[in-house]
Each structure stands twice: as C-alpha cells, then as structure tokens.
C-alpha cells in the first residue's frame, strides 16, 4: 500500500518538478528591459510647432498636416537636443550634430535620423506607448 503510494508519488515527481520550474524559467527567458514611454496628451493642448515634454524627453512636432514624435536624445551619444527657433533645427549641445525639424540628420557625428516614437490618436488624445 505504502509502496504503491510512494511509487505513485515518484511517478508524479517529474511533472511536479517540471511544473514548478516552468514559471521561473519562463519568467527568466521572457524578461525584457527595454524602457517604455507611456503618456496621454489631449490634442488641444498641443500647439503648432515643436513641443518639448520634459518628463518623457520627447519632442512633439505638430504642423497643419500631421504629428510626429521624436525621441529628444541625439542619436549619437544621447544628449538632449536644443531646438533652435531661428534656424528650425535641433542642435546637439555635445558634439554639434544637427537635425532638421522633420528629424532628418543634417550633419554628424550622429549617423541616424532622430528616433521616432509610435503613437495613436484616440478620442482626441495622443497616446504614446
């Protein structure tokens, strides 16, 4: 009787072990540490032109046709860009990279255009992330 029970238990053991370990293993392998930006902005609060959101470090560019959101970090080393209203360019304070208002790289050392951030518009609200 006892022996039988023990045998039964022993038969179940592998499944228990695999079951018990599956959670940590799944968690372990599915871990993703990429930062995310999440925010909601009512559309009417946005003015035409460039708006800098200090909290999430993004530039929102709104013109008559559409809206673009750029990551405010330079694609070279990550300094926060200054927007020059006179030249309508983004100046990097660190290594003099320049980006146009539509995010295209004008001159180095940055090698890419500005990173664009995906967003949705729902109920007259801008949803980032």
């Amino acid at each position: 009787m006892l022996n039988k029970k023990r045998r039964k238990f022993l038969n179940l053991l592998p499944y228990t072990l695999v079951g018990g370990f599956s959670y940590p293993v799944v968690k372990f392998f599915l871990f993703n540490d990429k930062p995310e930006i999440k925010m909601l902005i009512p559309l009417k609060e946005l003015k035409e032109g460039i708006t800098y959101i200090e909290k999430s470090k993004i530039f929102i560019y709104k013109n008559s046709q559409n809206i673009d959101i750029y990551n405010a970090h330079c694609t070279h080393m990550g300094c926060i860009l200054n927007f020059n209203k006179d030249t309508k360019q983004f100046n990097c304070p660190c290594h003099k990279s320049r980006f146009d208002i539509d995010g295209t790289r004008l001159r180095g050392p940055a090698k890419r255009d500005l990173d664009k951030i995906a967003f949705k518009i729902k109920n007259k609200t801008l949803q980032v992330g």
Partner: protein
Amino acid sequence: MNLEKPIAKPSSPDQCMSCHSSTTNMDKSHPIEVFGCFKCHGGNRYATNKKDAHRGVVLNPSRLEYANRFCGECHSDVVKRVSSSMMQSQNGILNVLKFQWGELSTPIGLEGVVELKDKNSTSLAESHFRKACASCHVNQHEDVFDDKKYARGGGCVDCHRIEKGHQEKNHYVHSKLSSKIPSKNCLKCHNRSNRIGISYFGKFESEGYGTPYKHGEFSHKLDGSRFYYELPADIHHTKAGLDCIDCHTEKGVMGDGKKNHHMEDAEDIKCNDCHKPKFKKADSLAVMLSDLNGNIPETKSIAYTNKKNSPIYNLQKDKNSTKFYRKRDGKAFDMSNMSNKPYHTLDIHKRLDCTSCHSSWVPSCYGCHEVYFENGKQFDWVKREVTKGSWQEFRSFLRFESPSLGVGYNKKIMPFAPGCQVIGTLFKDKKVEKFHAMAMAGWDPHTTQKEVRSCEDCHFNPASLGLGRGNLDIKNNRIFFEPFYNSKKSGMPFSYPIDGFVSSDGKQFQTTSRKDARSFNKKELQKIVGAYKCILCHDRYSDKIYKDFNKSKILFNSGKTVCLD
C-alpha cells in the same frame, strides 16, 4: 535565497533608479535616461539593495582623483589639462611665495600642492602656504570647510556646479552642472590677494568696519568677517554685465596642458583680442561651444585669441557689424574697437600696458604683518588635518587711489600694488624672530574704465610713481620727495616708507613677484617727471609736440621753440 527582484521599470540603464527615481537631470548633455548613474558615480548599477548598489560609489566623481575614471572617460583631455593647471597646482603662488621669502632664487620650480602632499617640510613659506594659501585649489575638499557657504573645491564641480544637489519636496534635484559658469563660482577663490574678482564688481575690501550699519547689523559683507565699500566697477560689468567667462577662454582657465609658471603664462585673453580682433572661420571647437551654450548663434567668422589661438566664439563678425554676445543669456552688444586716436598710436606711450591708464583703482593692502606661533595649532589645507604652528595676518593700511606704476612681467608699464609686503614675527619656543619680505606686484586689477587717469596723476603723483605718499617736488631736474609715513617709528624693521616702491633717486626698496618686474629706475623717473612741465600746458595727446616728443625737446632746449614768455 532571493527569488524575484523588485524591478523599477527602467527609465535609465541602471537599477539605481528603482530607488532614486525622483532624481532630476544634471544637464542636457548628460541625461540620466541615457547615462544612468553608474557611468558617473560607479557602484553596482544592477544591484537593487542599498548595500550592494552603493559598494564603490563615488559621491563626487569630479574630484580629480576620480575624474579620470568618470568625467575623463569622455573629457579626458580636459581632465588632464585641469589636473596640471595652475588653479589646481597653485605652483605660481607657492613659487612666488618662496621666492619672495628668500627660499628660492627664481619664482619658478616647484610643482605646487601635489608636491607638498606627502612632504614634511620645515620651510616657513611652505608652512604659510599650507595653512593659508592652499585652501583654494580646484581639488580642495569641500567638506573641510566649516561654513558651507564659503566651501571651495571638489574638482570639476568647483567651477561647473551652478546649483548644489538637494532634496525637494518630492524629488531630488541633482547638482546642476553647466559650462555657463557664473562669476560667483570664480569669486569663491578669486577674492583675496589681488582681489580681481571683487574689484571687477566695484567692491573694495574695506578696513573691516561693516559700515554703514543697516537694520542694526553690519552691511557690505564679503564673507564671514570681511567687508567692502563701493568703488566704480569695471566698465565691462557696468556697461554690459559681462561675467568672467565672457572673456576668459576655456584654455586660459582650465590650462593648456603645458606647465605654466605664472598666471600670465596660463592666461589667454588680452584686451586687444576683442578690441582689435582678428576674425577667422569658426573651427569645430567654436561651433561646439556655441551649441553647448545654446544662446550664441553659430556664425562663420569669429575672433581668436592671439596667444593660444582659442576661439572667442562670442565675438562674431557679420557683414556689417561686430557683435559680442554675453554667454549667460546671449544678449548682444556692439563691439567698440580700439580707436586710432593719437593716445593709442603715439610712440610716447608705447611701453604702456592698457591697464596703466585704464585701471582707475587697485586694491592696495600695505603691510601684511604675518605672525607665526610655533606652538599654535592650525589646519593644514594640504594634509587636511590640524598640525603644529599657526599663522595670523595683520595689516597696516589700505588704499585704492592712484595706484603705483612699475615695469611689469611683460616689460610694460602697469599698475603695481603690495603683493605681498610681509613683515613677519616668529614666536618660537623661547625667542622671537623677525623677518621681512617686502614685495610689490603688477597685475591687471580688473577695474577698467573708459576714462583714463589724468596726465598729472601719473606724471606728478608720488604714489603713482612708486615713491609713496608724500610731497614731491622737482628743482633743477632733481626729484625731491618727502614721505608721510615713518616706518621706523611705526614699528617696521626698515626705514623706507611702507608705500615706497622706489626712492626718488631710483633705488628700488622692495622686490617684486617676477624676475623681470621692477620699479621705475632713476632714468625713467626723471623722464616721467621731467615731462610734467610740458604736460602742464600741452595737456592733449593731439598736441603737436607729442608727434615726436624727443625732437620737440631738443628743439625746445636749443631755444628754437619758445613756449614760455
């Protein structure tokens, strides 16, 4: 055994933010979300418990011993330059002090603070340096200052920090660093000795009365126990509100990597760099600096310093105007060039430094009585501990009017003031010893005015000539001078007047702070005073006798020109 770790959804590459989530950015160039904390502060960037995370953390990574590892990872060139700069080593001060006190034969040689660090010296000058001068260098420890208001040092942050880190209601404000260094940071140190920092703002360190009393308290405080009174401030301040960094270039301040002996070797900017500028195409450093500033437009043509060829990126030439931009806020001013009027072009004053005419006053602190108590105890700023021997400083009197003139380090004529007139008394175990090391020094006092000193103020004022305060007269081309001050009776160990740099027959009483600097000699004195009789009536530079003054003198002496009837 730890199973699952608490993880802050990372807004930075480090886990530090899971605790320090409220910390704000230091500046735009080092955003936390890109740099994290670890890059600058070390420690364990992944640990989420305080103990592990803080292991090896450096609170102030800009201290020069860490800067190489942290700041220097990107700014290695600057860290290297600052580490060997004069503001860090103070070799200028140490060498001049030792030179003036007779411990060195030339005012150059030693390395400065670094050299004294592990040294037990018996030298008197070094003792004084340790206990007084060494409190001010870039890498001084801030925490050794009792009064945090006057704390100096800390490495890069000594200058670059514009706001100290502090906790606000619900977030921590990280120390704000900037390349737009406010003048008050410079003034943490540059307010003593030659006092250019405070002179520039029209403050003259006063006799210490604290008058007038306002609301029952002393007014016009400089710091703890020092006071000032108002004098005309430098025109660059009054007219344009310029800060120190508007003129002083990055190379001039942070060093150029070379071993400089004196301030003037390290210094980059000169008056004519801006007032008689040479424009060139902006180089990449200039563009970067103007981008970093954010307020100064990028232009193709900018001025460069003559000495080290550093860009003065805030002095720019457009098609039809020359504009000087204030770095603080980008405010533009029209640049006025040095005029081509006779006073600037005539040969008679070609040996004059700009400062000799345009500096209206110089803080002159006569008679620095240094008292040394061998059994006293005082803080050693190099070792950062209390050691034996203490110094106390006394003085005789202060003046600001009619600065003395002499031949300066650049062999040009410039204002001189005591620097330093040490009358030392050493209280040793059983005996009292005395020494004196009287010296004058020439420097740009940073009290520039558009109006210049009058002709007579230089040509017939004994104080300006370096003779001291007293009564001057000439008869048969001989200079007679009777000083007011009686040094012997006033307890000084010498007989010449304490404000006397040179005797009326050209004998130099006091030493200077440089090998080449000196007082006027007999010939020069006679030439200067001798010209006075002409100046009396011919008091305009445009006067034709000055076109070729020597020729005019010959003509006059031979009776060919008549002036007096």
